[in-house]
């Protein structure tokens, strides 16, 4: 069943990505993004990563969709501007090169749940053996996140805090930005 769910959800993902690219109505696009994120979260559940699925569902489906909708409400224009004649071959080239590089990188990733993977044979044993004594945190996952990877987590928190402050400052502006050339009573 996992294989079936994986195949179907991944093909939905591709359809959704193409649809997001082609749609010009921003409200519909925000809704499709929510759906996309829900699909990704479903895939995480099938991959046996419920904690990541939690985060993806809360951030991707919940907060991101609402923030995008609030942004659309602030700019008072629900349609994407078409850029005719813009050269996008460089972007295409970059995407293809990136995709090929990622495909190449997949070869080095260990199989899902492989007990002989380096991550399970080297660092994990040490965390399990001496994690409690070194950090004093009962939960091993918390110990790794908050102590062994403390700087990493601090950086993440800084990024999230900065992004949150930026969004708050933008949304709390009393004067909403207007699209160029629009009349005052158009919205």
């Amino acid at each position: 069943m996992s294989l079936l769910v994986n195949i179907v959800l991944l093909s939905f993902l591709v359809i959704m990505a193409i649809a997001v690219l082609r749609i010009k109505n921003l409200l519909a696009m925000a809704m499709l993004f929510g759906l996309y994120s829900l699909l990704v979260a479903g895939l995480f559940v099938v991959l046996d990563a419920p904690d990541v699925a939690f985060t993806e569902a809360a951030v991707g489906t919940g907060i991101s969709t609402v923030l995008m909708l609030v942004t659309i409400a602030s700019v008072r224009d629900s349609h994407e501007v078409e850029n005719k004649g813009r050269n996008s071959s460089l972007a295409l080239l970059l995407s293809v090169v990136m995709g090929v590089a990622l495909m190449y990188g997949i070869h080095d990733i260990a199989e899902l749940g492989d007990p002989t993977a380096p991550a399970h044979t080297q660092v994990a044993a040490r965390f399990i053996e001496s994690g409690q004594a070194e950090t004093g945190v009962p939960n091993l996952v918390t110990a790794v996140l908050a102590s062994y990877r403390g700087f990493d987590t601090l950086g993440e928190v800084t990024v999230v805090l900065t992004a949150g402050l930026g969004i708050l400052l933008l949304l709390l502006r009393s004067e909403k930005p207007r699209v160029k050339g629009k009349k005052k009573d158009a919205g």
Binding site: L27, M31, L35, L69, H79
Partner: protein, 103 residues
């Protein structure tokens, strides 16, 4: 017992495909909002069925979270539609500009 879960899972995937088709085809924003809402409900069902199928009922928590978030997202979208007349239309950009010139 597994065959029932499998059948339920396939049925849910088929109805998910229908929801995806409606979300992509549109044509109005309301169709899409409804399709996304329905897809969210199907995702909750799929996660629940998958939880019992794989013998880990603790994944049910995620299904609960999905149903909560689904509600929040749809309410936010509908509020936005309610606030402005331009957000909910399916006009092209040219139609909008004509309308603004007349206003």
């Amino acid at each position: 017992m597994e065959i029932y879960y499998l059948a339920a899972g396939i049925a849910i995937l088929v109805s998910m495909a229908l929801g995806v088709a409606r979300a992509v085809l549109g044509p109005t924003v309301f169709d899409r909002i409804l399709a996304v809402n329905m897809f969210g409900t199907k995702a909750v069902l799929l996660v629940s069925v998958f939880a019992f199928f794989s013998g880990r009922p603790d994944i049910l928590d995620i299904a609960l979270l999905y149903s909560l978030l689904n509600f929040v997202g749809v309410i936010a979208a509908l509020r936005l539609v309610e606030r402005g007349k331009h957000y909910a239309n399916s006009f092209s950009r040219e139609d909008l500009e004509d309308e603004e010139e007349n206003a």
